[in-house]
């Protein structure tokens, strides 16, 4: 029977070394090679792995972006997705995460209207150019579906529910969630495959529908720059977080002693 998965991807600069325009405070995109956002590659791979273990599953891919973003959709098909949908219009340009998640939500609704129910939406945890991590949970809010972000493992999935491991700073949560739902995945979840020959041939032949704001019946006040409440006052690279101190020792007693010594040395106790 299988499920229908929609993976949301974005074409971003093909490097993690993003440059910020000092005048406008936004990203420099001109002259940068483009590729699928690295976190989205894990999303595509996980969807294809679910397809391999749950027969009858279909993987759709959607992106919002300029005409050249179609390359990233073909790349997703080469990596095993079945079909792709391209939301593209000048009216979508300049969208913040609110308008982006709204537009993708309308696109997913259109997919459901044309291709039948969607059971699972997969996003990368964030993009390498925006770094917000808002869009996945945002789509879930628009759809009014449950969502789990920071997913590092899909333990099981069927037509009714999904069990995932969520990566937390202090450990791992194992969570069960009814479908339909949204998950956002981290890079620890898998190692993406190299696109296969059959996939590459399929990608070359694929017909990818292009949808604009009218096709997806979007509220014009909620899309693009005009529909974006966010104002970027300043962008900067955050200073790297300092690592903690690891207390070594052969036994628990040794470690406890080392910890107490350290705290006394720092005059904290």
């Amino acid at each position: 029977m299988g499920i229908h998965i929609v993976v949301c991807i974005k074409q971003t600069p093909a490097t993690s070394n993003i440059q910020i325009d000092p005048v406008t405070g936004t990203l420099k995109r001109e002259g940068m090679a483009a590729a699928i956002n690295p976190f989205d590659e894990y999303g595509i791979e996980e969807a294809v792995r679910i397809k391999e273990r749950l027969p009858g599953t279909t993987v759709s891919v959607i992106t919002m972006g300029p005409p050249q973003a179609e390359e990233s959709l073909r790349e997703a098909i080469a990596r095993g997705a079945d079909q792709a949908f391209h939301l593209t219009s000048r009216a979508f340009a300049g969208a913040d995460t609110w308008a982006t998640s709204y537009t993708l939500f309308k696109g997913i609704q259109k997919i459901m209207k044309e291709k039948g129910p969607v059971h699972l939406v997969i996003c990368g945890k964030q993009t390498n150019d925006g770094d917000t991590g808002h869009v996945g949970p945002g789509i879930a809010a628009w759809l009014d579906w449950p969502n789990i972000a920071y997913v590092k493992k899909v333990e099981s999935v069927d037509e009714k529910e999904i069990v995932v491991h969520r990566m937390m700073e202090d450990g791992v949560d194992v969570l069960e969630m009814d479908l339909p739902a949204v998950i956002a995945v981290v890079k620890e979840i898998n190692e993406p495959r190299v696109a296969g020959l059959k996939g590459k041939m399929a990608a070359k032949k694929a017909v990818i529908p292009k949808w604009n704001e009218a096709d997806i019946e979007a509220d014009k006040k909620s899309i693009g720059l005009g529909g974006s409440p966010t104002i970027v006052s300043k962008s900067f690279n955050p200073p790297p977080r300092k690592g903690g101190v690891k207390i070594d020792g052969a036994t628990a007693q040794d470690k406890a002693k080392a910890l107490v010594d350290k705290l006394q040395e720092m005059k904290l106790i």
């Binding site: 190299v194 696109a195 296969g196 020959l197 059959k198 590459k200 070359k204």
Partner: protein, 409 residues
């Protein structure tokens, strides 16, 4: 150099190259040091459909032939000639079935070999039968609808890892060369076990095993070709498989040169890049020229062979006759001379180029933690297996003599 690859062939090269760079390079040192089989790479090659490039589409393949196999093996071998062998040795095991399989036999085994679900292997060598296959001691005695195999085969590449084996055994020891027959034996057949695992100089990521047959009952339906025609099967297989060894050799040589160039460029002595010295540049000129000559020969021969091979494969799918029968119809002669030439030239070139690559690097090139010395160890086998280069010269010389004799004076 533009070799005018088709769009599909270009995709084959790019896919194999991506796997070589991203997946094989990070693990090649570990598999070489520990002599472990690269199952994780087998998975990558399966997902990328690379096992199927030389199979007909009726078996789930891409519909290519020898040239597509050559392209894959060359690219993988640029990273590691040992790891590339999981795919190349499968091809050697598959070719007897492709050439001599009946429609039923092809349906039984080719789909799994084309998908990589099961790996293939080929075993002709025995302790006393190397270049002289007529000295085969492993026997296959007919018993009703079965043949009972007894004896050992050794130095089997992909041994133990593979599940489908093309095995040569004598069905009539009195008839010598005309008494040998070829059988497909599947892993798990009672009486078929694995003996000694070899420890090798190079291609250490490839498992090499002794195969042991102890009253192993193989269905008569598993015989490839007719009884007593085993050496025809072996010779026809080698004619089309030797370009695969040549491709492995070419990839190894090219990989060695690439590593050496990258190092020689940044290594500074006497205040300048080592690569800027005329002595280095002359070495590099000889290496690059010979590799390109090897590539040009390999590609021309394989493409010419494929014209006949593809026509025969297509005809065989229509007629139900074997590819070998169709090959005899579409082609005027055997490919022995040219396939011997590519194997000989590419492997000899690979060995001395890998040697020069170490020399170009100096002391660091000799060290195990630098990736150059391994290429020389891997290159050596290509001068030995699928017929030593002395045997290649014998065959090439014999073919030339025959051609002369056939010409009117």
């Amino acid at each position: 150099m533009n070799y005018f690859l088709t769009e599909e062939q270009q995709a084959v090269v790019e896919t194999a190259r991506e796997i070589a760079e991203k997946k094989i390079k990070p693990v090649r040192e570990k598999h070489d040091a520990e002599e472990t089989f690269p199952w994780e790479i087998v998975e990558e090659l399966k997902k990328a459909d690379l096992f199927g490039v030389y199979f007909h589409s009726n078996y789930g393949g891409l519909g290519g032939a020898g040239f597509e196999l050559v392209l894959v093996v060359e690219e993988l071998s640029k990273a590691c000639g040992g790891i590339a062998l999981c795919l190349a040795a499968t091809a050697l095991g598959a070719f007897p079935i492709i050439l001599f399989g009946t429609p039923e036999q092809k349906k039984r085994w080719l789909p799994d070999l084309a998908s990589g679900k099961r790996l293939g292997a080929f075993a002709i060598t025995e302790p006393e039968a190397g270049s002289d296959a007529t000295a085969t001691k492993c026997t296959a005695k007919k018993d009703g609808n079965f043949y009972v195999l007894n004896g050992v085969k050794n130095f089997c590449s992909n041994g133990e890892s593979a599940e489908i084996y093309s095995i040569f055994a004598t069905t009539d020891p009195k008839r010598g060369a005309r008494g040998i027959s070829c059988f497909v034996v599947e892993k798990g057949t009672p009486g078929f076990t694995f003996g000694k695992k070899e420890t090798k100089m190079g291609i250490r990521a490839s498992t090499t095993y002794e195969l042991v047959f102890d009253n192993c009952r193989v269905p008569a339906a598993n015989m490839l070709g007719k009884e007593g025609y085993g050496l025809f099967v072996a010779q026809a297989t080698f004619d089309i498989s030797r370009p695969g060894v040549a491709a492995q050799a070419l990839g190894i040589g090219t990989g060695a040169m690439n590593e050496a160039l990258a190092y020689a460029k940044v290594r500074r002595q006497f205040g300048q890049s080592v690569l800027s010295f005329p002595s280095s540049q002359h070495m590099v000129a000889d290496m690059a020229t010979s590799l390109e000559a090897a590539r040009a020969l390999l590609y021309s021969v394989t493409r010419a062979m494929d014209v006949d091979l593809k026509a025969a494969v297509d005809a065989s799918e229509q007629s139900g006759k074997t590819v070998y029968e169709e090959l005899k119809r579409v082609s005027s002669g055997r490919w022995t001379k040219y396939s011997g030439m590519v194997k000989l030239f590419c492997s000899d070139t690979s060995f001395w180029v890998s040697d020069s690559a170490i020399q170009l690097c100096g002391g660091i090139g000799y060290m195990r933690d630098f990736p150059v010395e391994k290429f020389l160890r891997d290159a050596k086998i290509t001068q030995i297996y699928e017929g030593t280069n002395q045997i290649q010269r014998n065959e090439i010389g014999m073919m030339i003599t025959k051609e002369l004799a056939a010409k009117p004076a």
